[in-house]
């Protein structure tokens, strides 16, 4: 209650009420505590971040993805062996288990060496771990030489086998190449294809969807028809046909970019539609009208005013599209249309595992599917979390 104390004389009894003695300070109701200030003045991005933090699964996924992508930078260092190193004596060797204790004593991580025998009847290579051949793993050691990012020659590895020993932690393939190393190197291609592809589809979707949504009319119709045409295409023949276009004499790097371009060009429709419908709705809003009246160019209106209001939503959608890119690359490589050896990607590794011999006899060759699943799951959870966080109505 404001104003000077006034007593209202009533014929009935007097109602007790409290009146503060100090003069009223207008700022008191406007002042916020520090915490309140942070909350109310927080930018959209910060609010998103807070909401995201509450979604534990998304946070964990985000951390996992950061670790995966960080590992790309130092694949050569992390991998026990070089990318192309072969071991003729250890073809199709099963994974070697890491042991810590020997005879009850803690010795440090080591593996048992393999004894090799060729079973002439079944022509099967039989590897038996030999408990007497103790091969301790070395850390920060000198192993296969490599060119770090093709620039600097080095040979330091995080983990290597003992001198003269072997450390095939995930087994070897049919040329005796270490699977763990191949998976680590394959991450480079598989993880970046998703990012590059999504960037392409982002750009196309934003541009076309933005134009359609903002201008409406015949541009809108055209873009909508285009989207419909692309969507009514079954994806498989589209992939096949577009992959067939890629000239064969391109270097593997160019083929890689070609594949991501293809994936990006087919994938933008979902994003384009979302942008378009959002823009159609938002351009009627007052703030857009105000900007127009003030003489802002269409480009400025779109970029500075309209887009930021649903950028978060877009980012969430984009994150959710990355897994389909990664899976698309594996499927294409499986069909023999995408990447092929000598490039190493998870898709290529899975392609080589795609026969009955592997399933029946050498199942460790299917292990590249694990990082694929982890990555896809992580992106899905992160995307879910981002979307939940970006939604202003929760």
């Amino acid at each position: 209650m404001t104003g000077s104390p006034r007593v209202i004389a009533e014929p009935a009894e007097q109602l007790p009420h409290y009146v503060a003695p100090e003069p009223f300070d207008p700022h008191s109701v406007e002042k916020m505590t520090a915490e309140q200030e942070r909350y109310y003045l927080a930018s959209q991005w910060r609010m998103m971040w807070w909401k995201l933090k509450r979604h534990r699964l998304a946070v964990i996924s985000g951390a996992v993805l950061m670790v995966l992508y960080a590992s790309i930078l130092i694949s050569e260092f992390l991998a026990p062996y070089g990318l192309n190193s072969r071991h003729d004596d250890f073809i199709f060797a099963p994974p070697q288990h890491i042991h810590l204790f020997q005879d009850g004593r803690f010795v440090g991580p080591f593996v048992y060496g393999y004894d090799y025998r060729l079973d002439m009847k079944t022509l099967k290579r039989v590897y038996t771990p030999n408990p007497t051949k103790v091969q301790p793993l070395r850390f920060f050691c000198h192993g296969d030489p490599y060119w770090y990012w093709g620039l600097v020659q080095a040979d330091v590895h995080l983990v290597c086998a003992a001198d003269g020993g072997t450390a095939f932690l995930l087994g070897t393939d049919r040329l005796g190449r270490d699977m763990l190393s191949r998976i680590l190197y394959g991450a480079r291609i598989s993880l970046t294809i998703g990012i590059v592809g999504i960037s392409i589809s982002f750009v196309i979707g934003l541009t076309l969807g933005g134009l359609a949504g903002y201008y409406g009319g015949w541009i809108d119709s055209l873009v909508q028809r285009l989207i419909e045409i692309i969507r009514s295409f079954p994806e498989l023949p589209l992939w096949m046909a577009l992959s067939a276009i890629l000239p064969v004499n391109w270097s593997p790097l160019l083929v890689y970019f070609g594949i991501t371009l293809i994936l990006g060009m087919i994938d933008w429709t979902g994003l384009g539609r979302a942008v378009r419908s959002k823009l159609l709705a938002l351009r009627e809003e007052d703030f857009a009208t105000a900007a127009m009246l003030m003489g802002a160019s269409p480009r400025r209106i779109i970029v500075r005013h309209l887009l930021p209001s649903f950028m978060s939503h877009l980012i969430a959608s984009a994150t959710l599209s990355i897994p389909s890119m990664i899976l698309g690359e594996t499927a294409l490589s499986f069909l023999g249309l995408g990447l092929r050896p000598p490039i190493t990607s998870w898709g290529v590794l899975l392609n080589e595992a795609q026969n009955i011999n592997v399933v029946a006899l050498y199942p460790w060759l299917m292990l590249p599917v694990v990082p694929v699943i982890i990555t896809v799951l992580a992106f899905n959870f992160l995307g879910d979390g981002l979307r939940d966080a970006a939604d202003p109505y929760r």
């Binding site: 192309n84 072969r86 003729d88 073809i91 060729l118 009847k121 079944t122 022509l123 099967k124 049919r174 040329l175 005796g176 067939a244 064969v248 004499n249 023999g336 092929r340 050896p341 000598p342 080589e352 795609q354 026969n355 009955i356 011999n357 029946a360 006899l361």
Partner: protein, 642 residues
Amino acid sequence: MRKLLPLLAVVCLVALPAAHAQAVEPKETPALEEAVKAGTLPPVTERLPSDALVIRPVELGTPGGSLHMLMASAKDTRMMVVYGYTRLVVYTPDYKLEPDIAQSVDVEDGRVFTFHLRPGHKWSDGQPFTAEDFRYWFEDMASNKKLYTAGLPEQMLVDGKPPSFEVIDPQTVRYSWAKPNPLFLPTLAGPDPLYIYAPAHYMRQFNAKYADEKALDDLVKQYRVRNWTALHTKLFRPYHTDNPDLPVLDPWVLKTRPPADRFVFERNPYFHRIDPAGHQLPYIDTVELVIADSKIIPAKTGAGESDLQARYLRFDNYTFLKDAEDHNDYTVRLWRTAPGAQLALYPNLNAENPIWRQLNRDVRFRRALSLAIDRHEINEAMYYGLAIEGQNTVLPKSPLYDPAYRAAWAAYDPKQASRLLDEIGLTKRDSSGIRLLPDGRPLEIVIENAGESTEQADALELIRDTWAEVGIHLFSKPSQLDIWRRRVYSGATMMSIDRGIDNGLVAVETPPDEFVPTTQGQVQWPMWGQYIETKSKSGEPIDTPDAQELRRLYKAWLDATDVGERAEIWRKILEINARDVFSIGLVAGVPQPIVVSNKLHNVPEEGIFNWIPGAFFGYYHMDTFWLTPEASSQASTAPSKG
């Protein structure tokens, strides 16, 4: 000497059947007994020709049963023609020609061929098989420009001239050329045969010369083709086995109309061979081909879904199949394949790029590349040491074999390779040790392949390391089959990897066309081959002396009239190939797993599984394979799981 060959040939080809005169009493086929009793089929004595061919099988068998095999596409039904291997003349496992459908063949001077048919031989629908069928093919089909737009098949032309064809009597026909035609009989005996006969009684209704115009028009409409020539061609494709109504002479006849996922072949009641006990061959009543995706066939075989399987099984499936023997009723055998090389590198002598062209044509370069390959490592890593290392040339079992051919420049000698490369002038190297070309670029060889097999990719991986040691950088580029071929033909590739020569078991009478430029398909000299194939219309003429010599020798072989001359020519050809290393062979004789049901007998323990000359199972006489009698009831139910 000149007179000896024809005499020898006549004696060889006539003497054998004379010994097989009708000394056996034919027995009725159990599966056909009912039909014979009902009167729909004549008894076996009337179904067999009067001089049935007696085949002596390893073990006398019991007729009956149903055989299951797996194939990857409907086109594979032609394998039944290949496996059945019924030809006018056939090859035996010791590479001799023997009459089969023909009772005997007289060859005079190597240029006049007289075929004597078996009296009473009938088509699979019971109509007589006579000289009329040959005449119809020769005059009404092959010489009819409308049906055979390209004219007679090449193997029937000598100097571009066709033979003169005569019908001597209903059982005898004669083909005469002015000069010897050594390709004629081997082509007739080939795995995909040259058909010089057609069921006239059946085909006439589709020929405008004989058929009623209205009826023919109706048929054309019914089959939805453009005109009667299209109809005629479509319905007479005995090798493709896509017309169940077409009468044939093969042991099994197609009964299922395509398209289908399962094709059933039933025994030919008029088949002309019998066993010494009098049973009309084949022993097996029906053969079922189930179509499945080629990638899944090893898995299906390992689950016991095939009684006899070799096609689509590769050597690396052996361990899995052997493991699966335990809970299945089959055994896995290892036969040998017989291409001259399982894998061979082909430097493209017609490469467009002048630097590569020059390098590829330098024999020292090719020899160096060959010496820098560790074939032993490839053999050990990929084939457990079971393959034969060496160049792309004849195999030990061939009568023309000489160990020097396989060993030529095939040792692993990096020092000598380095020396040869230095000799050529490729002495400068870059910082990573790779030699530099005269124009400063690194010596990087791009090997293109059809991208179809992991075998090739693996071998290239192994070669990459040994070549790096002598300063050559190998870059492998997988591609698609047709794109690869086109690039090779146009000269865009510098080197490719492919299978070696098809027939590593050549004999004197085998045409040496795989060792000389003959066709565009030879990826070491596609342009020269194209020039020959198109008769100088496109491609490039041969311009190196050694290749010209090869071509000259080939012509000499075609014109030669006696065995000794031919053998000498062969030797020269093989020597030139060994000396010049036109193709760099890696390994050969890779084992082929053959899965044989334990109920199936007469399949050899060891053998050669090759397209030519063996027609895969062909010259092991698939018609003499037989099933244990209980199999006839079990084989047609669900694939048993042990």
